[in-house]
């Protein structure tokens, strides 16, 4: 077998060019170009709930309903507060009358008297949309009517939603519902119209005890980010893999 020097060089050159061709289909992007493609993710809205501060006044629920035009007397709400009362016999009594729109004023739970000396611990847990990093509700939307903004908030396109209800069933946290007036899926928006103007969300502003706070996870100086980084926090239903972005301080294992 003869393999001349000339033939070796020609074959090598052909091989090199052939291998380089598909690579030339790729293009090196400048950081600015890459950002334009991926989107400006310079902000990531997150929420921090301190359950050790909540007293169950429900002013957040009232403010949310009025700010976001959720019908006040309809049994739906974007945010709500749950009460957990643990008694000596190990039982957990849970309620949230009207989503705590009018607060908790009655010591009875589901018409059941609970003597004060029987209570070992009791606490209130505010809940709202977790604005998940991997939102199940967005994955299931068949028409592209719900989506995640680049700063991490999940919104619903009221003009595009067909009202199929898949998202309402997909959400592990039960935060979605049908808007009784618009007849489309409805959910907490972190008060997108307020936070985008530099205001606090209605529930954060209304909370007299700073049990609710909001921050930007991309900003290391943000006090909320500092707490999430440095203190002991938890999220709800971590096992679903949706990466919820509402963080809780003092979350009890009984909270579902």
């Amino acid at each position: 077998m003869s393999f001349s020097r000339r033939k070796f060089l020609v074959t090598s050159l052909k091989g090199a060019i052939g291998a380089a061709l598909p690579i030339s289909a790729f293009r090196l992007l400048s950081p600015a170009e890459a950002r334009a493609v991926v989107g400006d993710a310079s902000r990531r809205w997150v929420f921090l709930v301190d359950t050790t501060k909540c007293v169950g006044c429900g002013l957040c629920v009232k403010a949310c309903k009025k700010e976001n035009e959720v019908p006040y007397d309809a049994p739906v709400t974007r945010t709500w507060v749950e009460r957990y009362v643990v008694t000596r016999d190990g039982q957990t009594h849970i309620d949230s009358p009207n989503g705590a729109r009018d607060g908790f004023t009655d010591p009875r739970i589901d018409d059941q008297e609970i003597p004060a000396e029987e209570i070992t611990k009791a606490f209130f847990v505010p809940k709202l949309c977790n604005q998940c990093e991997n939102p199940a509700c967005v994955q299931v939307c068949p028409v592209g009517a719900t989506f995640q903004t680049r700063d991490g908030v999940v919104l619903v396109d009221r003009n595009w939603c067909i009202g199929c209800g898949y998202c309402i069933m997909a959400c592990p946290y039960g935060v979605r519902f049908f808007h009784p007036v618009y007849k489309v899926a409805e959910k907490c928006t972190f008060c997108y119209h307020r936070i985008s103007k530099g205001l606090e969300s209605a529930c954060v502003q209304a909370c007299p005890f700073e049990a609710r706070r909001m921050g930007d996870l991309r900003n290391m100086e943000d006090p909320v980010t500092q707490i999430i980084m440095n203190e002991r926090i938890a999220v709800l239903k971590d096992e679903y893999g949706t990466k919820p972005q509402v963080f809780y301080i003092g979350l009890d294992a009984r909270v579902r």
């Binding site: 991926v38 006044c57 700010e67 009018d102 989506f147 680049r150 919104l155 007299p208």
Partner: protein, 156 residues
Amino acid sequence: MKKHALKPLWVALTVIALVLLARYVMVPKDFGVNGRNFTYGFHRQSAINDWLVVPVKYKGKESCNECHDDKYAENLESRHRLLECENCHGPALEHPENPERLVIDLSRDLCLRCHSKLDYPNSPRGALPGIDPAEHNAGLACSECHNPHRPDLEDM
């Protein structure tokens, strides 16, 4: 090939063309992958603006201070300084143009949100000053005795 054999093909192509035309007309021009990927960012870009233009209804304490600076100052000295004015008076909306006056809610339910006694250990609710609404001057408005702007009992 005979012409009649091709007829179903023309019908099928026409239907496909009509569907594509309808899709072109009906789908908004800004519909597409606008977020981080197809799974989470496939939407109408202008839907974000629909949410940005929602009117802000709760204006915050500082905006009340522009006219009601006396009430603002009084409140800041009291134990109710953590409360927003609009928590009790309702959202300011376009006040003072619309509504001209905010409703003053004197119902007991408003105060009972915090001050109905719930005897909970290890909860800040249990530490708040509280009453049993059935026992404590039932039927009377709280503001008959307590000034909500300055609720400290020594000022009664």
